[in-house]
Symmetry: C2
Subunit: 495 residues, 2 copies
């Protein structure tokens, strides 16, 4: 598959020893120093120029424009997490000053976030930049004060190697300790296993399949010292079509969703793989319009032969189920490794009774579920597993009329969308890219936006420390100007 | 052990069905309504009067004054978490308004915390009020919007029954939905297992032994849908005695610590079970003074025969290790079920090589570790597992001279104490009651202070919702006056 050798057990041991040493230096570095390192990575990434894009195009089959955009997004991510790191809101500072009038007297208590320790990050197949070597997990961990060990994705190992070089150059330029970042190859599961099981590993970031993420989650929980794994895994991103909206906009919604289903050959974790409507004339109009768009949609080359093979198999398995009816397949002849846009339908009853239909078919595939009425749609909602996103296409009145449905749908997702598409994940404070299992292994965290830093940090409370011994963030003078909860009130004032 | 029958599988099923139904009503209730319920519980608890104290005294052997204080603390906790619930900081609101000038345009995104779902809480043996039926976990879950199912601690089941009645009365008075709170008995592990494995259970709170907590953690992770467990388990709360401080204060420190070791018959999770010093004349002075206090300390009745038996066995196992030397035992004859205050010593080498010496001996027992020098003390620190607290007794100069040690010690604990004792856990924003495994199952959370609510909540992002359809907390007008991060800045202003 690639020309790089798997890391040996000895290399892994050396890497983890260095990461552990680096941790005790890096954790003491100021937020400004960490941010400086991250901004330097962004600069080096910018300087990778055409070479990086060319290598990534070869390894991933992604088009040039997409890769240039993704690199720009990754640079933006690094800079924006660096800014968040320096701003310090994520430190969640709480201070209660001493109170000697109470019985017993209350000591001075000051709490802030500190890093967990070395974080092992597994790159994603579908985002060679933004969710791989210098991606969101790496940026989050570095902001938190954690050294990062990358297990390069074997399908874009050369791309990963180039990005790692940019990071190591940035580390050298900004005087970071040896071991703050390391890059290992591993086509074998054993490399990932050894990394997750190493006692110096204190957290794991993963983006990929349910099978892969769950395996790492289990390994991490079976350690002598269990560690947190944030794995972003499987999501079919259901879309609910509500009746009043459908009366007037069935065609327009179909056109919008045809674009969302086929975007990036359906290789996004937020791809809408399930569309749920009420079986009436409006849904027929929607399905016909969607079928028209899908038949005209061009097949395109998928990320790698493994993902293509997976798509072909899962799509075939779904389409050959007796309850599933194929509605539309792209009429354009596919070339090798091209994913063919496809739409099928099934009844709500079939969906409820066949858990297989709930599985992600990673690619340009979507299943339309026909419900008898809103009550059956609610039943479908209660049978859907945890999701990154869920969407309600409905008029104001639709939403008001269907409080139960809205409540059920909210309960299964991390991001609840109204009259919009799930594809497109803005990097900002309000983004939630996470959700109940199996979308992720812990719904309480996000992997996009500055709150992603919190996955790799934990609070420490300093009790009765003299002001001069405290970290700057907790000193009376508030020299860094952070927002802090002081005796119950948020303030940037000194004490 | 107690007169209550274990809940049957049918009762558990009915309870969880009701909790699930209640969840969809309770989660929509305003923070003011939830706070109203919690304050009503506090009032009802206050009204339990002498009866509750008498029953609890019989079941736990705890003295009256301690139980009255603990009830007062529990009432304070309920009221303070209710206030935090209403104040809304825990909702972690982030808003990024739409930006149509970018390519692609950014949708309106608004994120806030929502409840996970029904939470199963296991009461603690050592805190029949503050960490049991109406304790910190219950208050946290109710504030988050989660129904609570209590598995009563079998050793204070009648106490639990009375507290549960107070909660149910409060629920009725404040028009809470049936199922918002339930109380089940279970002496058998099967009851707890069935509750943790039930698909409607979405999180677990536990305070108790490492064995018990780890068993629940494993069950939760092995579910088809893994769920978060916050288990507060095992901590020996190491205390490091630094050389300059010891030159002048060895005796005073010994007296202070004798009090901390024997407080509440050593039955606190923050009891200092390990004291680490440098083997010199000052440490001899410290040990002699500590021995004097311990010999005079009166044995006292432990919580229950099981905990007493456990103490006797673990203490005996530790004292009979060839590397361990008994230094002082209370000279006062113990009555039945009374724990005998005891101090022993061992060398650093023995501690490093014998993991058994790292185990918690729950009761008035502490082991003093003699190190050759600071370097050996650092080695001891690297061999100590995760802790709720760690303490440094040292002068300003001691702290400045021993940066490596301070850094190592900070890395193993949730609360880092300077010249103070670990016993006594103030309920306030800055408290961290948590720590790396095995102190808890997730170092990123606390079980004391309003941040404890975050264990049972997850973020949901609303994308492109009309203002009138949004929850009040996210509306442009900010009708609840919450602090919110709007386009990157913390503010209470409207949009």
């Amino acid at each position: 598959m690639n020309m790089f050798k798997d890391a040996t057990i000895e290399e892994i041991e050396k890497t983890m020893q260095e990461a552990w040493q680096a941790f005790f230096t890096y954790r003491k570095m100021s937020v400004a120093q960490r941010a400086g390192f991250m901004k330097a990575i962004a600069k080096k990434l910018e300087a990778t120029g055409d070479e990086l894009i060319e290598v990534a195009m070869k390894e991933t089959n992604l088009p040039e424009a997409r890769l240039r955009n993704e690199r720009a997004r990754t640079i933006f991510q690094l800079n924006s997490y660096a800014a968040a790191c320096e701003k310090g809101d994520w430190l969640s500072i709480r201070i209660n000053t001493a109170d000697t009038t109470t019985v017993p007297p209350k000591p001075d208590l000051r709490k802030m976030m500190v890093p967990l320790g070395p974080v092992v990050v597994f790159g994603a197949a579908n985002f060679p930049f933004a969710y791989s070597t210098a991606g969101g997990d790496t940026a989050s961990a570095l902001a938190a004060g954690c050294p990062v060990i990358i297990k390069a994705h074997p399908e874009h190992a050369a791309t990963s190697e180039l990005v790692a070089k940019a990071i190591l150059d940035a580390a050298a330029d900004t005087y970071m300790p040896t071991g703050v970042f390391a890059h290992l190859h591993g086509q074998s599961f054993e490399v990932g296993k050894a990394l997750v099981e190493h006692p110096f590993t204190k957290a794991v970031g993963f983006t990929g399949s349910l099978k892969g993420g769950k395996a790492l989650f289990d390994l991490a929980n079976q350690r002598k010292e269990p560690i947190p794994v944030f794995a972003e895994m499987s999501s079919i991103n259901p879309v609910f079509l509500l009746p009043e909206k459908m009366q007037t906009e069935a065609k327009e919604i179909a056109q919008t969703y045809a674009g969302s289903i086929t975007l990036g050959v359906g290789q996004f974790c937020t791809n809408p793989g399930l569309i749920i409507g009420i079986d009436n004339g409006d849904l027929q109009t929607f399905i016909s319009a969607l079928a028209g768009c899908i038949e005209e949609a061009a097949p395109a080359t998928m990320l790698n032969p493994g993902i293509f093979k997976n798509y072909v198999e899962k799509r075939a398995n779904s389409l050959t189920m007796p309850e599933v009816e194929t509605v539309a397949v792209s009429t354009i002849e596919p070339a090798m490794y091209q994913g063919v846009p496809t739409i099928a339908t099934a009844t709500a009853e079939a969906f409820i009774n066949n858990p297989f239909l709930h599985q992600e078919v990673f690619g340009p595939y979507s299943l339309v579920i026909k419900c008898k009425d809103i009550t059956e749609m609610e039943t479908v909602a209660t049978h859907i597993e945890g999701q990154l996103t869920a969407t309600l296409m409905g008029s104001l009145q639709d939403i008001k009329n269907n409080e139960t449905l809205v409540s059920l749908v909210q309960n299964i997702c991390g991001r609840l969308i109204h009259n919009n598409v799930p594809t497109g994940v803005a990097v900002c404070e309000a983004m939630q890219h996470g959700g109940p299992y199996p979308a992720t292994t812990d719904a309480r965290f996000t992997s996009v936006g500055p709150d992603a830093i919190l996955r790799f940090a934990r609070p420490v409370c300093f009790q009765q420390w003299e002001n001069e011994l405290l970290p700057d963030a907790l000193k009376n003078e508030n020299p860094l100007g952070f927002w802090r909860t002081v005796n119950g009130s948020l303030t940037r004032e000194k004490i």
